[in-house]
Subunit: 340 residues, 2 copies
DNA sequence: CTGAAAGCGCTTACAG
DNA sequence: CTGAAAGCGCTTACAG
């Protein structure tokens, strides 16, 4: 059976296609009995409007794009992105939008994807995962093309664009402060990539907590990781010689890796070294450690980003907004009790 | 600046829009110098055709949908799906297709998503993740709507649809056989959900290996899991009383959970209990166990599915195909040496 | 090789 | 409240 058109429905109902269009789009100015008759026919025939035709005529496609730039596509299999994507997809369903996924795997991909996402016709707006230096170009190009955009994670240049993020500095400050309050003296950190705003901000929060208490920041207690479990493991192997009694890791995965390294040396957690992680993704525990950590609302994060984007699309809100989500310190077992 | 149209380019170049359309689509029948002139203008102006207009006129959108039914959306944060999605996205980029993601979170979602995916206009075809009983409806509806479809994972009714899968029975058979060859006598299994074809098939392979060697299948050595680490942990707690000396787990995550449970009882791996897992996802090791496992080519899986779908779309191939990907037994340390 | 024209299936002023 | 008509920006026979 060939697909039905508005015209078919109009003919079968004995009205014009203008009228059918109005009832399809829930517009006013249709007599109740006519509306009902049209709805009946639509229901009976299973008619559904042609998306491209509608997009062409109305000049909006009801689809938004999620762009994962080259810098993050390598880490796409990290459950963090699955959670964010889940929130985004959920919000799209709720608002009857379609979600198009652009995983930029290479420079070539970027060239082929860019024209598709920057021209209206396919997308009404885009969400761009960011935080890396290299992402500035794509953000800039979207803005130039006047495409509505919301950035996930604070971008390096954030003055002219709406983004949603958590307060990474404060959250990390809070994590380290927790360790200080518990009496830890030599607090180290495994921080995130220095080429990312998350990496920088969480390190900044660490420094801030220490210096506020007049504790000297010791460069030997700071090692960079890339958020993966493996990087935490290797970072910790380098850190042990500096004899830390606590570590703030910028991701749970790094904390887990680090704890594994610690245990291999025969030291105990939390007795010898306490740990605070970061993320607290639901069910991410491929492990038996009850990690004290900073919980960030990842799914909510995605939902909020979609809402901000739709606001821009549907209400023509041009103002750049900073949307900051709440975090929470979750105390479990890797820091021990209150006193030591 | 308003978006440019074909007409604008035609005017600026002094040709008709038919000609511009031909060069945009790399069609023949354009004089070389004209083609060059048009291309120059296109390049200079940054023109890109309007996706919806093109879709309407040509009757294909160059976008495909990836549908994750309700049954899998809960497990979406499992890295397995991220890997598949990565392969799919990669193949889409390569073939200049756009990927639309439909995460069906609830029955409501299903109702709102279905009309969008079954009508041509938005999508040229769909990939449906399956293997669960509940997915039959959506597959059936897509077939009725004549929408090109490729199913990821063998569906329960597989005679009239193209799907891509691995040979789960053989792979599991191979895994269990490995344990038998190593001299293990009481081999148990933590199998996948009985409501899924993967769950059933891997269990079937387990039975087959045992009965082929004349080993009695002991129901006490079989416990169901849901592929998660937690389910493996709890399944193992129930299994220990049956005194197995080896376990075939239908996922690596379940194997990891089970090993954790075993270690908590003081038993050793592989000395007391050997383990074979399933999946071998790259970098999935949030753990220090060197797991012997079955490797399945997850990214390739996604790529192959896209290729099969595009074949259907572009070459109008209506035949249902069974596409079976290769697996491989990866021997590491959880089964010990050749003799014991 | 090139262009004029019809048409894809909708939406949206506009007139009544 | 309703319909006729123009138009969204392309593609695609068709005629030359």
């Amino acid at each position: 059976m060939p697909s039905l058109t508005l015209e078919d429905i109009a003919r079968q109902t004995g009205v014009s296609r203008s009228t059918v269009s109005r009832v399809v789009n829930n517009q006013p100015n249709v007599r109740d009995d006519v509306r009902k008759k049209v709805k009946d026919v639509i229901h009976k025939t299973g008619f559904h409007p042609h998306a491209a035709a509608r997009a062409l005529a109305s000049q909006h496609s009801s689809t938004i794009g999620l762009i994962l730039p080259h810098s993050v596509s390598f880490f796409f299999t990290d459950p963090y992105y699955a959670h964010i994507t889940k929130g985004i997809a959920q919000a799209c369903n709720q608002h009857d939008y379609t979600l198009a996924l652009f995983l930029v795997g290479s420079k070539d991909d970027e060239e082929s994807i860019f024209p598709r996402v920057s021209r209206k016709g396919l997308l009404d707006g885009v969400l761009v995962q960011s935080g890396h230096h290299g992402d500035q170009e794509i953000i800039g190009r979207m803005i130039d093309a006047q495409m509505p955009i919301v950035v996930l994670g604070r971008p390096f240049r954030s003055d002219n664009v709406t983004y949603v993020d958590i307060d990474n500095i404060y959250a990390s400050y809070q994590a380290v402060n927790h360790l200080i309050r518990l009496g830890r003296k030599r607090i180290g950190t495994i921080y995130g990539p220095a080429a990312s705003t998350v990496g920088l901000d969480r390190k900044e929060g660490y420094r801030k907590a220490l210096s506020e208490k007049g504790i000297q920041v010791d460069e030997n207690l700071m090692v960079e990781g890339d958020f993966t479990e493996a990087s935490g493991y290797f970072a910790m192997q380098r850190l042990v010689s500096a004899k830390p009694d606590a570590i703030f890791a910028a991701s749970d995965a790094m904390a887990i890796g680090a704890i594994r390294a610690v245990r291999e040396t025969g030291l105990r957690v939390p007795d010898d070294i306490a740990f605070v992680g970061f993320d607290d993704l639901p069910m991410a525990s491929l492990t038996n450690v009850q990690l004290t950590t900073i919980r960030q609302p990842v799914v909510q994060f995605g939902i909020r980003a979609v809402e901000a984007l739709l606001d821009q699309i549907e209400n023509d809100d041009k103002q750049p907004h900073r949307i900051i989500m709440e975090t929470e310190l979750i105390i479990r077992e890797t820091c021990g009790g209150k006193s030591r």
